[in-house]
Amino acid sequence: MAVETTPAVVELSIPCRPEFVSVARLAMLGVASRMQFTYDEVEDIRLAVGEACTTAVGRAMNANKTNAQITIRSEILENKLTIEVEDKVGRMPEVTAAAAPPESLNEENLGALLMELLVDEFTVEPTAEGGTRVRMVKYAG
């Protein structure tokens, strides 16, 4: 069994605006590609991170806070990738994605549903600064 060692850390900060979400996706593609993930798992991670940033951008646009930054922090261990996406633009609304019938899905709960489905662990918590922290864990191999 692999011994847990100190994780490598990649941290990215982008403006909370639609045109920068692709920067986060590309950076995560780079991180995940260097790990033991399959091609499909790398795609899952790219989409999950894109969704996490997209909810923040949506809330930032509603709150007129597109000057804020989003932080995407990855902790990389041999077979475990932990990603925390943190914003300062308000709380992510409670979502009941899994229960909803497909017809009633809107963008917001679709995003939450995708994140839940694409990673192994998915938690959302409000931050002390009045924002949201999405934490996702994906295991490789």
Partner: protein
Amino acid sequence: MNLKMNTRSIDDRASLIDLEGEIDVYTAPNLKQQIITLLDSGVRHILIDLTNVEYLDSTALGVLIGGLKRLRERDGSLDLICPNPRIKRVFEITGLDKIFDMYTTEEEALDKMRAKEGK
């Protein structure tokens, strides 16, 4: 990393939107606008070709669902051409493959759409 959009008229009630690139929170509004423009010009059957789309997120799904609703309200249709298994998978895991009519080739999709127009 952008979205290229190519719209082509099939007949006066039907159009095909050929997409290439990424549909995300940055580019999805362009697709939404295009759907609205077609609707306003009287188009009731829209076929969206996702063959060359290499990324698509919840924003894209939202726009497609919205378009589908609007068109169905007007007895129209919004169908998808989606041979790429990665992209198809996003519809499958969200259950949206049950909401959209999805085809693998343009030919097949056009046949089915003409049938819908017929009735």
